[in-house]
Amino acid sequence: MYAPGVPVAVPDEDAVLVRSAIGGDDEAFKELVRRHKGTVLRSAARFARNPEELDDLGQETFLRVYRDLRSFRGDAPFRHWLSRITVHVCYDALRKRRREEKDVSLEVLAATVADPSTGNGPSAWLARMILDQAMSRLKPEDRLVITLYELEDRSVREVAELTGWSETRVKVRAFRARQALKRLIGGDDER
């Protein structure tokens, strides 16, 4: 599934651009970046902590695409191949990242949500903030799978294709990640 409102390029046009880029046409590659940057950045934004990190993840994705352009076989749409690379770059970043500092206490955020004076429930922004905080304490593979499966609402098969994992592994990971998230949001921090 891809973000709504994102222009989806015609695969043939992408293939032509890829061929030109392999031939050394920088403008062709720039056009590929221009077409797909929204999709890549929207996916990477689920993993980035700030705009600088998002920029790094996006650039790293396209640098890897450029480097591996010759290995793109063209039997599947370019955007599928690009999505897989995006997921791998983000996963690598999650694994490299040390366990994050608690910027904002989950308990404080949860209390804000529970406070009747703040309204009927959490705003979308606050819910995302709480989820981000909780997910930052998950293992990288758990965070990856919960992001793709729950937040991006992809199917198990899609997640398996993007990550290169088996469907069983995706299901197990998704289940464990959910359990961990419930504990975290419920205030029962596993640390």
Binding site: F29, K37, Q59, L63
Partner: protein, 102 residues
């Protein structure tokens, strides 16, 4: 979507997830001129090693000047001709031995 049992905490988590989906991350700031930055990094990575060499010239120049200054200030004086050596008096005996072949 999921074949998992739904207790109260599941419902709460689903509520958070549903709300979080409604708040897509803001990428507008990063999106601006993104392709230009990517292309700049690609060109940077493509530069051959000697394209960087000229940037090291000032460093080597300063190093050369410093080493020359240090070399001139710390090296001992070696008089070139025997008369000067005699005049200095410090190596008189050795020089005379040398000149007389002893």
């Amino acid at each position: 979507m999921n074949d998992k049992p739904h207790d109260r905490s599941d419902v709460e988590l689903d509520r958070y997830i549903a709300l979080a989906r409604q708040a897509p991350p803001d990428i507008s700031g990063v999106e601006r001129n993104f392709e230009t930055r990517v292309m700049a990094r690609i060109r940077e990575g493509r530069e051959p090693w000697y394209a960087w060499a000229w940037r090291l010239v000032p460093i080597f120049l300063v190093l050369t000047i410093l080493l020359s200054g240090w070399s001139l200030s710390s090296s001992p004086v070696h008089p070139a001709d025997p008369v000067t050596m005699l005049a200095s008096g410090t190596q008189e005996v050795a020089l005379l031995d040398n000149l007389t072949g002893e």
